[in-house]
Amino acid sequence: MGLSLDASVALIAIAPFLAAILAPLIQSLAGRFAAWILFIVPAGIFIVLLGLAERVVAGQTISTAIGWVPSFGLTLGFFVDGLSLVFALTISGIGALIVLYAGAYLRGHRHLGRFLAFLLAFMGAMLGLVLADNSLAIFMFWELTSITSYLLIGFDAGRQAARRAAIQALVITNIGGLCLLVAIIVMQQLSGTWLLSELRGLEGVVRDSAFYGLVLTLVLAAAFTKSAQFPFHFWLPNAMEAPTPVSAFLHSATMVQGGVYLLARLTPVLGETSVWTGTLVAFGSVTLIWGAIGALRQTDLKQILAQTTIASLGLLVVLIGLGSKAAIAAMIVYFIAHAFYKAGLFMVVGGVDHEAGTRDITALGGLADKMPVSFIGAALGALSMFGLPLTVGYFAKEEMYLAAFGGDWLAWLVLAVLILGNALLAGIALLIMIRPFLGDALPTPRKPHEAPIAMLSGPLILGGVAVVGGLLPEWLGHDVLAPATLAVLGVEAEPHLSLSFDITNPVLWLSVITWGLGILVFRQAHRIRVLLRRAELAIGWTADRAFDAVMFGLIRFAGAVTRFLHHGRLEIYLFTVFAMLGLALFVPLSLLGGFDWIVPTADLGDWSKRLVLPDLRIYEWGILLFVLVGLLAVLIAQSRLIAILSLGIQGTGLALIFLLFGAPDLAFTQLMVEVLSVVILTVVMTNLRLDARDHRPFEDWARDGTLAVICGAGVSHLLMLVLTGTFDSRLSDFFAKTSVPVAHGANIVNVILVDYRGLDTLGEISVVMGAGIAILALLRRRNKPAIAARGEP
């Protein structure tokens, strides 16, 4: 490979997006083989990342940066350390299997190419998120995952439920995204760097500042919404509306793990305080138990898995909150174990749904005969979830018990919560493995048969790796956990995983207790479910419904505000605008003492003698008279047309004044505008077919008249005040001096318009055209009676 190793990191983040752009084309060219072709991209990324592993294990971090906005000193940096490597490997590895799976799952679907494009873009965003060094880039990728997951969840856009779930996920995660942006900016202001790699070196900068509470709250809001922590958990089960490949990807390695990654990444910056530990452990614990109980309530296999994802995320957050070496090691192992078994189980469930036509756990049974390979896949995943020895899940459980073992009563409480949560999850694992596949065969909507190889490879490979990983504890400890804990905490966790059983080790007995409780939960699953359903009916209120209530409330509020402001009565709009103008003129003037000069001072003496008529020539008086006559005619005119024409007279008089006082350009423009105004107003008024006479009640007349006088007085006053000030002639001198030699034009006004301030003019003519288009649109609407009739309520 011609590229340097470091450049390949940047390529990793970009390749999925390129593949996503090409996906629809490949789909239309290669048809059913498209998924196999696109599979190369994530698989290649996986291999490249694997190639970096050696250096990361040796304790190095690999980083690369390309210029982004050099003028702001922004670089688009990527770096690979133990933590991001674990996440990136999981994302690309599972992503590759998901692409294959999706190709088979949606075979023949009209929009398969589009689906694969979304999927790859989503994967790219996720990879970018875990590899990015620049915190603004992290925010960008964070939002990209929200947007792409929105597209994926709402892929089946014909269904209302899918659209709602997609919007819900977008709204919830975007609230978090905005919080993240603010947190990032505050952190940058505190530390002076956008780079996380530098920020992590500046320990205490954020933690000891007065803004620590703010940053922590915002970061937690971001992580909790993304990672579906209680009370923001409800969007995740709803996201099940997506096709199964999306669920398998979204719930295992991506999206929801974004929040977990963020928390782990920011541990050196924000962590190791009692607030951090307390909040994370408290929210994580509630989420763990809530999710596990929620899973027991469900009968839909996908819903069960979705709820267990919530529980697992809670567990991960608890472990990050604990923050000890053992806890972080446990977090990493559990993340890997969970990603593997959850993706595998989702794929199996999707296969069952695909081939048997239902995924209701009470309607399935005895499928092991018909779908033996699926059963093996499910069993591998479920056993890892159950935490049996020889699987990665076992180590995850051991590590987390070790992390919480010993200490004060709070630690014991956390340990109890962990055992309870794990026991519930273990029971559910048994449920998923045994209910659909063993026991008596039940009739299903479709005649079940084995799923195609592309759909089976995922669960089998993932389950297999989970077992292989479970057989190689030394490798796991040294090559995965040590670099990852180094990345999170700055110290390596010494490898201590082993396969040997020490009967005197209390942690082993905790595992045994967990299994025992798990089996109990499995046996009583039906009873628990009935009980929970009853409790749910008794409460009758969920966070999901609260979301709906908030959303509808928001829409109603917006409607009310719009109706209040946008009532459709022109005269009130105009009144409001001019009343505001009056306020804007008079309030600042009176506050800044602009009226002081009006009040006659004592030394002025008899001020009436000081009044003198301005020294004007006779024709200038004539023009003033002309303007006044025009104005008077406007006021007393009985017919609209006469009023419009009189207004034109007044404007023409104004143009003459401009002409006389040395502004020919202005006069010219004023004259043209007057002519066109009169023409257009006349045409409009004729078209409106109103009464020729404009009769108005006295109150209206008095109100508008008062307002007009106030605004007129305000403007005149302001202008006179401006004229009393000294004129700063620097600008006009500059223009007068340079217009001919520099801009080759003698007409300063025009030179300013087309040369000095050409960009402004460009903007103005764009606005002129935009306004023209808007006016035309309004006119067309008026001329379509059908629309006009039903448009307005």
Partner: protein
């Protein structure tokens, strides 16, 4: 308004106004005038023409939709600014070209192109509004 006198005189007035508008536009750099005023005069001419001969006749005579002229104007103005990029100067730096025509020199410049863009934008926008208002029927819009 559709008197015989007006209908007969209108084409003459319109033609004069249009030529005058161009004159005003072109001389703008040194004398009162410019693209904006020129555009307004031309638009007023179109409005007069519309009153006298009816909107369909004006549209036929114009050949292109006035709004397209406006769009062309905005693009032209923007493009004239882009020319300076070829000389390595910032956007909208003016470039002057003096053509020697024997007895006189003809100054050409990017601000001139820009001003023509302004002319077209103003002319197109105001004319299309005026024509839309003058036409009674939907198909004339």
């Amino acid at each position: 308004m559709n008197t015989v006198i007006f209908r007969t005189a209108a084409p003459l007035i319109v033609a004069t106004m249009l030529v005058f508008s161009l004159y005003i536009c072109l001389r703008g750099h040194n004398e009162p005038g410019g693209g904006f005023i020129g555009g307004l005069i031309a638009a007023a001419a179109i409005a007069v023409f519309g009153m006298a001969s009816g909107v369909p006749a004006v549209r036929r005579a114009l050949k292109v939709d006035p709004l397209a002229i406006a769009g062309f104007g905005v693009v032209l103005a923007g493009a004239s600014g882009l020319l300076s990029l070829f000389t390595g100067s910032p956007f909208m730096t003016s470039i002057w070209l003096y053509l020697d025509l024997g007895e006189t020199t003809l100054p050409l410049s990017t601000p001139l192109i820009f001003d023509l863009g302004v002319y077209c934008a103003v002319f197109g926008t105001i004319s299309s509004i005026a024509l839309a208002l003058e036409s009674d029927r939907e198909e004339d819009l």
